[in-house]
Assembly symmetry: C2
Homo-oligomer: 471 residues x 2
């Protein structure tokens, strides 16, 4: 089900009528491109799937632009794939039914910042790093940080999270409202700037995580947080992964409000050492961060130090200057690319299971045993405070056997996660890659209910068709 | 739009076929009742609407029972209204199209408690107090606490929150998964026990807040929290409401992780004094609670004391023994009934607006001026840390003029909240009462999208028909 050759069977020809292309060119001029290089760039993501380009790419600069494209697409029953900066991991952006790639990266304005309410509204193409740069001098930050510098529209679409989710939640908890262009080209708004609401169906959270299959989010209203008074980071090494995970479980069960709690296995440590010259001891480690007042940060760190030490942790070390912290976290965020650089010519097959915290040690142990036995290079990074981790298998591009081996291990891990009452995807989404897993996890009846919502909101199946579940 | 006489125009006759009644009686025996007293009890809630009884009440004891009723209802296109303990406030439970009231209060088992993962799965009829009693000796608690001792199914259905939401979020953030019986009588599950997931559409949050209009939630999986190491409560009086609200705004903007921050106006203080003999000074007050380690609680309280004192707060007083705290919070939770007891023969028209925190002082000030000018008795209690407050107008039962006056002020307040980028309902839901408000707030296009979901999931309009929006 998850082998790459399956992509062929999912391809559907839905040609874009010449009159529509003409209309797009008239309205968008140079912002409408059929150049091969542009189409190819928009027909792939960071997944190992082969490039599957759209027929045309349209660069939108406003919600009105999006409405114009959607009206044409609706009238012509042509697929539309919203595109941010192309960092998704599960094949979300592949134009398996052709159509228009709707590039929103130029919609990069901060629309309304309300520091006094800790809210901001941004256009969908604003990236998380840009946002944090623009709000920093107000003493604010937005915590959700997938490794890549993704757009906030893309992060909302995949219900992204990252290293801070253990304390601040995911995009699910941090999107207050949306401006959406529906499949019929109508403009609607969901939510308000109020922190909570019981007013009707929670459409905000229906669109968050819908992976572009229900409409196009053009503006996103987000919760912000005051920059903590004090921040400190610490690392701690362990003899084996199991000990590191057991320490994490205890930290969470104690209710320590830790802001970040990341696991790197020895392979990940080697990769970031090689790329960023960190000189870290090559052993499994936890990379942690504490936010709060001076006293609270000190107290949290002392509690965690006691727990890790009891669990066999060694070399508990502080990184209290901002420079040291930035260096460590930048290295962590680059682990994905660091891993690939260690293995030139490789693509990455990444797992994304998330389980109840007490089951984490078990699933990691079994998965590591499989990976070791397979002989494939791999590394593990994990948002272990959430019960979420990524095992990345590195496979030679074009090596079908390696790819199949990695996919088989990934499948097995997902089955384990489901048996342990967890999920096949903590934060990357379903895309093309995990469509089969979603049925295994949620059941056919639940997926049928999702499908009936899709049919109701997008009766012509134009919004990112062929993703999440079959039509 | 919101006057009580409007109820008449919403009544629709959908008779329950004799054969279906027969089938219900055969399966449920004494658990199927058409007695007038039972029907009347199930045809009202805490709203001021007149009782509108269902044709029959069925007491379910299992998910299978619910499936059986839904299959019959689907086959006969008969309305079904899920019922917990009847504490909703917006007319949710009125059988405006007749049909079956599905009483879930006997589904009161804790199905699966996983203290090591901080999760629990309960049947929908478990109340919040029962849950907290059953998990306390594990060192855990569930924070969401609407005033009433509601069922967790009912709380999920209205996306309830309460006094702890400022720190712990609402039902939106704290439901991990659901067992749902669909309108067609099919059993599905949403979510998992993992803390986060990107696996497909967020059906969990679609059902949370859907007020029984999309299906019946029979089991709810919830996040739990370790009981804080230290808890302390404090009260502080202010010369006027404005000063109290300004202090609150600053506490939130500073990022103090306050666990509860409740406003009582002088009328609310008088009511709880009269009911619970608290001897509180009769002035507007904040009732606050701090959770954390000893050091962190002390630090939070010191910061808040400094802020309130600068804002003109007086008499900052501690309630550090559990008994004192319980007494204060019990009084706060009983404010609704205390208010009614001060005014025998009254019904309450309660507002529920929630605005961005910086707009809170403004909307309260204007609303208080209106209420003072109206001559109607009223009181205010507010989850002001969230920007949410309730102004309760007390109207003589059956006095159409008073009722109309209260509804007109409520309408005006909602229009203000919407203009201030807030919501008509922070936590009570839409029900019958706020259907017009929802359109004003969300817009016709957004409500049409909600309606298309309803049509897709409940094509015969049998699930709590006539609520939230028109068919």
């Amino acid at each position: 089900m998850n082998a790459p050759h399956e992509l062929q069977s999912r391809l559907v020809s839905r040609p874009l009528p010449g009159a529509m292309l003409q209309a797009l060119r008239e309205r968008f001029g140079a912002r409408c491109s059929s150049a091969a290089a542009v189409r190819e760039q928009h027909g792939r993501d960071e997944s190992p799937f082969p490039t599957t380009p759209p027929e045309v790419v349209v660069y939108c600069e406003s919600t009105d632009d999006v409405v114009a494209v959607l009206r044409l697409a609706d009238a012509n029953a042509v697929p539309v794939i919203p595109y941010g900066v192309g960092t998704s991991l599960e094949g979300h952006l592949l134009a398996v039914q052709g159509g228009v790639s709707l590039d929103l990266s130029r919609m990069s304005a901060v629309v309304q910042l309300n520091p006094e309410d800790l809210t901001v509204t941004v256009q969908a193409g604003v990236t998380r790093e840009q946002l944090n740069q623009e709000i920093r001098d107000q003493g604010l930050f937005f915590p959700i940080d997938p490794g890549a510098n993704a757009t906030l529209g893309g992060m909302a679409a995949t219900r992204a999270s990252g290293t801070n989710a253990v304390r601040y939640g995911t995009m699910r908890e941090n999107v207050l409202g949306l401006t959406v262009v529906t499949a019929a080209g109508e403009l609607i708004r969901t939510g308000t700037r109020a922190r909570k609401s019981s007013a009707g169906y929670d459409l905000t959270r229906l669109f968050v995580g819908s992976e572009g299959t229900l409409g196009v989010m053009t503006e996103v209203t987000l919760k912000l947080y005051p920059l903590p008074e004090a921040v400190s980071a610490a690392i701690c090494h362990f003899a084996d992964i199991d000990a590191a995970v057991r320490a994490t479980i205890q930290v969470i069960q104690m209710g320590v409000p830790i802001a970040r709690c990341e696991l790197l296995d020895v392979n990940a440590v080697r990769a970031v050492n090689a790329q960023s010259r960190l000189g870290l001891r090559e052993a499994p480690m936890l990379l942690m961060e504490f936010h709060g007042s001076d006293a609270s940060v000190k107290e949290q760190a002392e509690t965690v130090q006691a727990i890790t030490s009891e669990a066999g942790g060694e070399d508990f070390q502080w990184a209290s200057t901002p420079e040291e912290r930035t260096r460590l976290w930048t290295a962590r965020h680059k682990a994905y690319f660091a891993g690939m650089q260690l293995n030139p010519g490789c693509r990455t097959v990444t797992t994304d299971t998330c389980v109840p915290i007490s089951r984490l040690a078990e699933i990691i142990k079994l998965s590591v045993a499989d990976a070791d036995a397979s002989g494939l290079p791999y590394y593990i990074v994990g948002h272990v405070g959430d019960g979420n981790f990524h095992l990345a298998y590195l496979v030679q591009e074009g090596d079908a056997e390696q790819r199949a081996l990695a996919e088989a291990m990934s499948l097995q891990m997902v089955q384990r996660a489901i048996a342990l009452e967890g999920t096949c995807s903590g934060e990357h989404g379903i895309g093309l890659h995990k469509m089969g897993f979603l049925v295994d996890e949620a059941g056919a009846g639940t997926v049928a209910l999702m499908r009936s919502i899709k049919h109701a909101l997008d009766p012509k199946n134009i919004m990112n068709p062929g993703k999440i579940f079959d039509w």
